[in-house]
């Protein structure tokens, strides 16, 4: 059974750990003050992901290869660029506003469910050696 859980809040990300005597302790928050919309724990010793919604500055994705001790921002899921200046039909082209779910896929892929509705696959992002931009 897992001895830890992640708690994403509107004011940061907290890690709760259960100890041998069944007591719990909470870590200092990562991303203090920022809304954390989804946390994907590491699979098989790999990478943990945290999705943030920075409001004015958009959704962001961070990754940790050391169980949350440090985080690096990586490229967030995005819709294909379709907007063309002067082409009114492209004015409604969508942009990700929120990452609300993440899941590990095969071969290190990362799946993201978004608002507006979308399912985006990042190939190979689950491996720390394949860091996004």
């Amino acid at each position: 059974m897992s001895t830890q859980c992640w708690i994403g809040t509107r004011k940061g990300l907290i890690q709760a750990r259960r100890h041998a005597d069944d007591s719990w302790s909470l870590s200092p928050p990562s991303f203090p003050g920022d809304p954390v919309t989804m946390v994907l724990p590491a699979y098989d010793g790999g990478v943990t992901y945290a999705a943030l919604n920075l409001g004015h500055f958009g959704p962001k994705l961070h990754r940790s290869g050391d169980d949350g001790k440090s985080w690096q921002e990586c490229k967030a899921p995005a819709f294909p660029a379709q907007y063309k200046a002067g082409d009114e039909s492209s004015n409604e082209a969508k942009s990700v506003e929120l990452i609300w779910i993440l899941e590990h896929g095969a071969n290190g892929d990362l799946w993201a469910g978004t608002v507006p509705a979308g399912l985006i696959r990042a190939r190979g992002q689950g491996r720390l050696s394949n860091t996004g931009g």
């Binding site: 920075l54 409001g55 004015h56 500055f57 958009g58 962001k60 921002e73 490229k75 967030a76 995005a78 819709f79 294909p80 660029a81 379709q82 907007y83 200046a85 002067g86 492209s90 004015n91 082209a93 969508k94 942009s95 990700v96 931009g133």
Partner: protein, 89 residues
């Protein structure tokens, strides 16, 4: 070369310093800023390369008018300020 400055609220997310960049329109200025500081791009522009809905830009203390095509003109002596768009409520 326009002087571009950023809201301090960006500093806690991305290292960004004031910079002088060329450009006759605000879209040219913004794209140059994002080329010089690639991490800034996703903070200022959305997936479509348009200014984020809740980010605003002032040229010489006047808010830009054309948010769709970012065609507002910039002069060599302009001061450009980029900030989050605050509203009440």
């Amino acid at each position: 070369m326009a002087l571009v400055e950023f809201t301090p609220n960006l500093y806690r997310h991305v290292k960004c310093q004031s910079m002088t960049v060329p450009g006759d329109t605000i879209i040219q200025v913004l794209y140059t800023v994002c080329e010089e500081n690639t991490r800034l791009r996703s903070y200022l522009l959305d997936d479509q390369g348009q200014l984020r809905k809740h980010v605003t830009v002032f040229i010489d203390n006047v808010r830009i008018q054309d948010r769709s095509n970012l065609s507002d003109t910039v002069s060599a002596s302009s001061a450009v300020y980029i900030a989050q768009a605050l509203s009440g409520g």
